[in-house]
């Protein structure tokens, strides 16, 4: 009852981020420090952006560069700042019918899978839900000049329209390849007896997360200050340290980048320095 | 002064069936009015319209001189003065007490009034002690008496009864008849009832309406209706001398019907196969001496019952099978017939009617 009186910050984020457990680990610390409540809506990436666009949250934590930029350019959001990254891996059956094991070139691996698929040896499962994961996957196909929505692929390219966990399970069942973030892979590894990480370490497989504030001019009723406070906490030395120390299944799924300007710029945040100093200049 | 209940030119059409055709009559306050007529005559239809459950197709109903507006949705206020006992007993799935109490409850009576009202009503129908029994676990006659108690408990000024004693044993039927006659006598309750029991109509009703195929054939006191021959008698009243059997055509164009018990009847029609026939009691000639005549059927028997119907007398004669003959009072007196007199019967082949 008491907490109802506390100020509330609404954060919309993608399901996979929320499911990693990172936020349930971070937020209580922020809440005690600021005597605020954080309410987290986890939804599909597109849905989370739509929620923000309608002014139903104060800030978003997402990982999909194109959608993020569109959101900011449309005037819906401001102060996009890189927070952290994790990396994607390509997983597949132990038997590896497409022969991609050991490669560190994701694009090449995709090409081999497509060839295997054409022969009827390999299956690829896509989340097909315009999530960050799916967007990355699409960008890789695009580099190869291939279009997965081509119906002739339907025999081996399964557009599953499901969460990451569901896709991993499905890949395990079907002996298929899939692109996944490492965090979810770690959560599910023990249940996926037939699967292994086959390709990792490619730079294009790095997956950066951004925070964007909902534009207070568009939605004046939103808790703008609370949103800034939460963002400041995430990029603070303390917050970044907590992210770095977050472990899951003995591994550290997320790497902080907010204060690592070089890496941040390389991962698609050209204005990281300006945003950082803007946030740092805000009073606590 | 106007009638308590009046019906003018009432018609009721069901899909494919005209159940009431231009029915008009008036019932005085405090009168007992009996509707009699064969199955399907329209008695139930008429009573349901008077209870405001169905709407007439045309025509008007007047209560105390005021026309009933059937377009009103909630007819509760009009209906509060009316009690009805349905032909097919319907009771609620509750205790007998609650069933009888229902009409009082919806009238907002006090607990005490309800308790007393239910007690009195159950006493009238001789069902004291049945209060706690579930009404759906009663025997047919018990249930019908509960339905009567329901209607009596609300002390209506108009009581509509559709065959109220059909399921009652004779003893209870007598009691209920007497109760109805008292309710009418003392409470000036107007009663409109349908019955198949001519004796009940005779005992209870001040006037009787004969309904047939949706039309009123006659209205009047019992004596006026039943004591002179009328087509309706054979239409409605208990058919006497009904026999069924196997008929064989004879070469002469008549038929011999074996009606069992060694009795063969000759009929003027030509028919082979199973038939039901009827010999009107007024067609039977009665004599104290053997009859020699052109009548093809002659029998001998003993008088076992004599009923005086005013100007005519009915005799039940036991022969191979029982026959009822009907003669005038005058010839009855002339013949000096008494109980157990030996008599001879004769009837013509053409008096044997197939039904």
């Amino acid at each position: 009852q008491q907490f109802l009186l506390k100020p509330v910050v609404m954060l919309a984020t993608t399901t996979s981020t929320y499911d990693s457990g990172l936020l349930d680990y971070l937020m209580p610390k922020f809440e005690t420090k600021h005597d605020t409540r954080v309410r987290i809506i986890s939804a599909g990436t597109g849905q989370a952006m739509e929620i923000a666009q309608r002014g139903d949250c104060d800030l978003v934590l997402v990982h999909c560069r194109d959608l993020e930029l569109g959101f900011v350019n449309g005037g819906h959001g401001i102060r996009r700042i890189g927070i952290m990254y994790n990396d994607f891996v390509i997983i597949g059956p132990m038997s590896d019918p497409a022969g991609i094991r050991g490669s560190s070139n994701a694009t090449e691996a995709f090409a081999k899978i497509a060839r295997g698929g054409g022969r009827g040896d390999a299956i690829f499962i896509s989340r097909a839900d315009k999530s960050g994961t799916h967007m990355l996957e699409l960008s890789i196909w695009k580099r190869l000049g291939m279009d997965p929505s081509n119906k002739s692929w339907a025999s081996w390219y399964l557009a599953a329209g499901a969460g990451m966990g569901a896709v991993l399970r499905m890949a395990n069942e079907k002996g298929a390849y899939a692109l996944t973030d490492r965090g979810t892979w770690l959560s599910f590894k023990s249940q996926l007896a037939n699967m292994a990480v086959l390709v990792q370490g490619d730079k294009i497989l790095l997956n950066p997360y951004a925070i964007i504030l909902v534009n207070p001019e568009r939605h004046p009723h939103r808790n703008y200050n609370g949103a800034i406070a939460l963002a400041k906490f995430m990029i603070s030395e303390e917050g970044q340290g907590l992210i770095a120390n977050f472990t899951k299944g003995g591994e550290r799924p997320f790497m902080p980048i907010a204060r690592n300007l070089e890496l941040a710029e390389a991962l698609g945040f050209p204005n990281q320095r300006d945003e950082l100093s803007w946030y740092d200049a805000r009073p606590q | 002064m106007h009638f308590h209940v009046e019906v003018r030119n009432l018609c009721k059409d069901y899909p494919g069936k005209r159940a009431l055709i231009d029915v008009s009559f008036g019932v005085e306050r405090g009168e007992i009015f009996a509707l009699i007529g064969p199955n399907g005559a329209g008695k139930t239809t008429l009573l349901r319209i008077l209870d405001l459950l169905d709407e007439p197709s045309s025509g008007t109903v007047l209560f105390r001189g005021a026309e009933v507006d059937y377009s009103i949705k909630d007819r509760k206020d009009l209906r509060r003065g009316i009690g009805m006992v349905f032909q097919r007993t319907v009771l609620f799935n509750m205790s007998t007490f609650d069933n009888v109490a229902y009409g009082l409850k919806v009238r907002g009576m006090s607990e005490r009034e309800i308790r007393e009202g239910v007690k009195a009503a159950l006493e009238l129908v001789r069902l004291q002690g049945f209060e706690g029994r579930n009404a759906l676990a009663l025997s047919g006659g018990e249930a019908q008496r509960v339905a009567l108690a329901q209607a009596l408990a609300i002390e209506p000024e108009l009581l509509l009864l559709d065959e109220p004693t059909a399921n009652l044993d004779p003893r209870n039927a007598s009691i209920i008849e007497e109760v109805l006659s008292r309710v009418n006598r003392e409470g000036k309750t107007t009663i409109i009832m349908s019955t198949h029991n001519v004796f009940q109509a005779e005992n209870l009703a001040h006037r009787i309406a004969l309904l047939n195929e949706g039309k009123i054939e006659r209205i009047g006191a019992f004596q006026d209706i039943f004591e002179r021959p009328h087509r309706f008698l054979s239409e409605f009243a208990r058919l006497e001398n009904v026999f069924s059997g196997f008929s064989k055509a004879t070469p002469e164009g008549t038929s011999i019907i074996d009606v069992g018990n060694g009795l063969h009847i000759e009929a003027a029609f030509e028919r082979s196969g199973s038939v039901i026939v009827h010999i009107p009691p007024e067609d039977i000639i009665l004599s104290t001496r053997p009859i020699v005549s052109s009548a093809r059927n002659t029998l001998e028997g003993l008088v076992v019952q004599i009923s005086d119907l005013g100007s005519i007398v009915k005799l039940k004669v036991r022969s191979n099978r029982d026959f009822t003959a009907q003669i005038t009072k005058r010839s009855f007196n002339d013949m000096k017939i008494g109980l157990n007199s030996k008599v001879f019967l004769a009837f013509k082949a053409s008096s044997v009617k197939m039904i």
Partner: protein, 227 residues
């Protein structure tokens, strides 16, 4: 299991109960009367137009019994969203929004099953009550009393639909921990995390709770059986 975990499960269970319970309660208050009106066969045998309308209306209600929860949740979301017509009420992502969502889903079910239950009561019961001087309301009440068993089935089906529903309350309530998380949304979250054992445990809690409530309703229901 540690106590905070139990505390959380408890609060989640109570919220589930509160949301679905209230949705069914309000849905019954609205749906039983509507279902009763539709259940009476008053249009039958009357003019063809009336009968056509009757059939259309019933089909419409029957169709609404199959409203997809996500769609309902989405519509409620769009209504309550800050940019929606009811935005100023600030009800989005609250238990009230969830109740509203389930209410929309549950009411047609209650109407539909009530309709059929009331339609199954012999007309003579209503006539008998009217004949004894009952008002239309009182007579209708008597019909409902006789249709008790069917009415309780309506409640039970509606409660089953509400308590097991997830897509709608997820959209409208947001599945916010400690605030709008119910047993079903928690189950979905756990399934997504791959914690199947926990998901199934939560499912068992949900069913146990539902069983307790149904035991009560069933005892009430059987009391209503004739004979």
């Amino acid at each position: 299991m540690e106590s905070p975990f139990i505390e959380e499960v408890l609060s989640i269970t109570l919220l589930s109960l509160r949301v679905s319970g209230l949705a069914v309660l309000i849905g019954a208050l609205a749906g039983v009367p509507i279902g009763t009106i539709l259940g009476f066969k008053r249009f039958r045998g009357k003019r063809t137009l009336m009968r056509l309308m009757d059939v259309a209306l019933r089909s419409f209600v029957n169709t609404l019994m199959g409203l997809p929860p996500v769609v309902v949740g989405l519509v409620v979301y769009l209504l309550l969203s800050s940019s929606g017509p009811l935005g100023p009420l600030r009800l989005l992502y609250t238990p009230t929004a969830m109740i509203l969502t389930q209410l929309i889903m549950v009411t047609p079910i209650i109407i539909g099953v009530t309709m059929s239950a009331v339609g199954g009561v012999e007309e003579s019961i209503r006539e008998k009550a009217l004949s004894l001087g009952a008002s239309n309301w009182q007579a209708t009440w008597m019909v409902l009393r006789e249709a008790r068993m069917g009415l309780l089935t309506a409640i039970i089906v509606a409660f089953g639909a509400a308590i097991s529903e997830v897509g709608g309350i997820m959209m409208a309530g947001g599945n916010i921990r400690w605030f709008t998380r119910t047993l079903t949304t928690a189950i979905v979250t756990e399934v997504e995390l791959g914690n199947f054992a926990l998901a199934i445990s939560l499912g068992i809690i949900l069913l146990t709770m539902a069983f307790a409530i149904n035991l009560l309703l069933t005892i009430m229901q059987l009391r209503g059986v004739r004979g």
